[in-house]
């Protein structure tokens, strides 16, 4: 029987646990100033009370709505634009410079602009998420189509496949692989967009709460929120990975014994 310690996730968990314990002890023995670095137990208590009082729910709802709606629109927009640019030269000429520019800058600097244009409610957060995600997916799709294995294209053509068949059998599966490869990054980006948007100006959301915690010098609330966001993003990562493995079965299915 395998020892529990030999498993990777156990060792990872142990390392996190060790960090938490050391931190806790250091705070208790006064080596760390709890005003700046409150112990994990205190952070847990704050997080717990946020849920117990139910105050957090409307904030969670705001952030999740912005992030998930932004993610969906961003992915869709990226796919459509990427396909259009790869297949229609004129679209590529029009889109590429804009996308390059958006790709070159830290796109979160657009947040204040979206607040001016769309107000401090949800739409400005969604817009920021969309911009963050769409540019990422656009390049995944665009370069994905351009780098499609030409051998496969020739193969399908010599078997008699026309444009529609090529699209179905070669292009869409290739692009799916590329998009799913970027999905985890996209989830992170969508949350960045939502939280940063709320940071800039909002009345609800985890970003707004963070901003509030910072302005009141509440380190335990700040840390609690940071951990909360980490937990949620990790959860979505797991979901994204499950989707990736399901749809890319042909890549991930366990290798079996090979016979010549």
């Amino acid at each position: 029987m395998k020892l529990l310690v030999e498993k990777l996730w156990v060792r990872r968990l142990l390392s996190l646990l060790t960090l938490a314990i050391v931190w806790e002890l250091m705070a208790r023995f006064g080596i760390l100033n709890p005003f700046y670095a409150p112990p994990p137990s205190e952070i847990l208590r704050v997080v717990y009370s946020l849920f117990a009082e139910g105050r957090i729910l409307s904030h969670l709802e705001a952030t999740f709505t912005a992030a998930l709606v932004g993610l969906v629109i961003g992915v869709a927009l990226g796919i459509v634009c990427g396909f259009a640019a790869a297949l229609i030269p004129l679209v590529a000429e029009l889109l590429e410079p804009v996308m390059m520019l958006l790709n070159a800058i830290p796109r979160v600097i657009l947040a204040p602009l979206f607040v001016i244009w769309l107000g401090i409610e949800l739409p400005s957060k969604i817009a920021l998420s969309v911009v963050l995600v769409a540019v990422l997916i656009f390049f995944a799709v665009y370069s994905g189509i351009k780098d499609v294995n030409q051998l496969l294209v020739d193969r399908v053509r010599t078997l008699g496949g026309g444009r529609m068949i090529l699209l179905r059998e070669v292009y869409i599966p290739s692009v799916t692989a590329w998009v799913l490869g970027s999905l985890k990054v996209a989830v992170g980006f969508a949350f960045t967009g939502a939280v940063v948007g709320e940071f800039v100006a909002a009345t609800r959301g985890l970003g707004y709460l963070l901003q509030f915690a910072q302005s009141t010098y509440n380190a335990s609330l700040t840390l609690g929120l940071i951990f909360l966001i980490m937990a949620f993003v990790l959860l979505l990562f797991v979901c994204a990975e499950a989707i990736e493995h399901r749809l890319l079965r042909w890549r991930y299915r366990g290798s079996v014994e090979k016979v010549a």
Partner: protein, 252 residues
């Protein structure tokens, strides 16, 4: 079956291939040999329509279906299982899914891949992938087969075995074949006619050779036939004369 007339390929003022003519009549095995870079692959691509010739033309007679093309690399769709890959051509020809998959399974069994149909290409060995690629082409029952060094990437044992299997099949079904290779011995072993292409650019057909060793042939014993060694020597000599000593060394 197949006739290529005065084919010119390439761009710019120095074409890769200049005025190449060759013929594959029904049931004949024809090889096209020549040094690397002489445009052998381009000629095959022009025959299948993947490449538009600058001049000359390609006549495909006697078969309504397009020729089967066996590539150098086994370009199987990685997201399709072996049987789906084999069934692809039939599906493109509007066969029902069940018919196509049944037919695909039959071909996989015939090629010794029984039980491997549900595997994805990355779950197969190089030899197995090559067999799937062969099944993918043969399932369409082409009368003419075009092959571009199909077994180049395989190790010697698998390569010899697959060459023999394919040769036996071609002889039994009276298929016409145009094989492109730089392996002179392989070409002589399997062919009725061998065309020698000169060094490119401006590659031309330099000579053609008739191999009158009786069929059915065995890949190993054919090389011991009395007419084999003299033919091979002539072929090497012509290639040597063609390229000149320095270029000959370079192309080896």
């Amino acid at each position: 079956m197949l006739r290529v007339l005065d084919l010119v390929l390439g761009y710019g003022h120095e074409p890769v291939v200049e005025k190449v003519s060759l013929e594959v009549s029904g049931g004949k095995f024809v090889s096209l040999v020549g040094p690397s870079g002489s445009g052998k692959t381009s000629i095959l691509r022009a025959i299948t329509g993947l490449l538009t010739p600058r001049a000359g033309h390609v006549e495909l007679n006697g078969s309504q279906e397009s020729p089967g093309f066996l590539f150098q690399d086994d370009a199987l769709l990685p997201w399709r299982t072996a049987r789906e890959n084999v069934a692809l051509g039939l599906r493109i020809r509007k066969a029902s899914k069940i018919t196509a998959l049944t037919e695909a399974d039959a071909w996989l069994n015939r090629l010794g891949l029984e039980g491997f149909g549900g595997r994805f290409p990355h779950e197969l060995s190089g030899g197995q992938r090559k067999r799937v690629a062969i099944a993918q082409v043969l399932v369409l029952k082409p009368k003419l087969l075009l092959m571009d060094e199909p077994f180049a990437s395989l190790d010697a044992i698998v390569r010899t075995r697959l060459t023999q299997e394919l040769l036996t099949w071609v002889e039994r079904e009276h298929l016409s074949v145009l094989l492109v290779t730089h392996d002179l011995e392989e070409a002589l072993t399997v062919s009725d006619t061998v065309y020698l292409l000169s060094q490119g650019p401006r590659a031309r057909i330099r000579n053609s050779y008739t191999v009158s060793i009786p069929r059915p042939r065995d890949v190993l014993t054919t090389r011991q036939h009395p007419s084999f060694a003299p033919l091979l020597e002539r072929l090497w000599k012509d290639m040597f004369d063609e390229a000149g000593p320095a270029r000959f060394e370079a192309m080896k």
